[in-house]
Amino acid sequence: MTMSRHPALALCGQALCLLALAALLAAAVNAWRPEGLPWRKDWTAAKMAAFAALGTVDVPQAYDLWHRGEALFVDARSPEGFASGHIPGAVSVPFDPTQLENEERLKALPMDRTLVIYCDGPGCALSHELAEMLQFLGYKHVLALPQGIAGWREAGYPMESEQ
């Protein structure tokens, strides 16, 4: 490297040097570390597996799924509750565990998507009951949001209403 080179050329050469050095060091140290990270990791699949093991998501996790469009949100409350304000893009599936004709409407939900079921908040059991019902019907990717719409609203996440 001589001082007579144009600064732009020197800049590119030096930057490439530093980048290559950083990549080499990163690869060497990561290989040497006992708890080294894999270079390839499917983060979303790993997250989903962790959620599935628990069967529930908290509000930030639900927002993460909503924001990435990775889940269909299912509102288990009454049509009035849904109309007064729901998670944007959610489908309304008012759930009454005593009425078995519900089953046909439930089966209209897609099998291949992750479903996040919610109702009012920690006090309401509908989301868990609907999640259990869906699992009984053969749905594999069902998560409940125990904090419900109350937790979502409290966190200041977007809402949608019919009015």
Binding site: A10, C12, L18, A22, L25, L37, W39, K41, T44
Partner: protein, 139 residues
């Protein structure tokens, strides 16, 4: 004036060495933070989390030592622009994720407009050092 420029370069270098420290020690925690920024496709999360701390470290060392300083100043200024865009975008869309700037603890550094202002100051310092190194090269 010459001394001031040298001090600016060394301070910038030390800043980046400091910033790399926790990320180098906790690559898994840093990868989690990169993922939480929700800006990169899944497959780029780990490569960025693995290489970025070493890039900060090598550029920091280069700036302190005054070797490859032009390239280091350019990379560092570019990094600051990218960091600020990522931070600003997440502050704007109200995403409450850890900054991961100088620490990998989730609660240590909530992002705020003050974080942006600090990053702006570091970007400015990078540009000052870059312009100085450019001039030294040209003369």
């Amino acid at each position: 004036m010459k001394a001031a420029g040298t001090i600016a370069r060394i301070v910038l270098g030390l800043t980046f060495i400091l910033a790399s420290y926790h990320k180098l020690l906790n690559p898994a925690a840093f990868a989690e933070i990169v993922y939480n920024y929700q800006l990169l496709p899944d497959l780029l999360v780990n490569p960025v989390a693995l290489v970025l701390p070493f890039l900060e470290l090598t550029c920091g060392l280069a700036l302190v030592a005054g070797r490859l300083a032009l390239g280091a100043a350019a990379i560092v200024a570019g990094l600051m622009a990218v960091f600020m865009a990522a931070l600003g975008y997440n502050v704007w869309r109200g995403l409450d994720v850890a900054c991961g700037c100088f620490s990998t603890a989730a609660s240590a550094e909530p992002m705020s407009p003050a974080t942006l202002a600090r990053d702006g100051a570091i970007l400015l310092l990078s540009l000052v050092v870059f312009v100085r190194e450019w001039r030294i090269r040209r003369s």
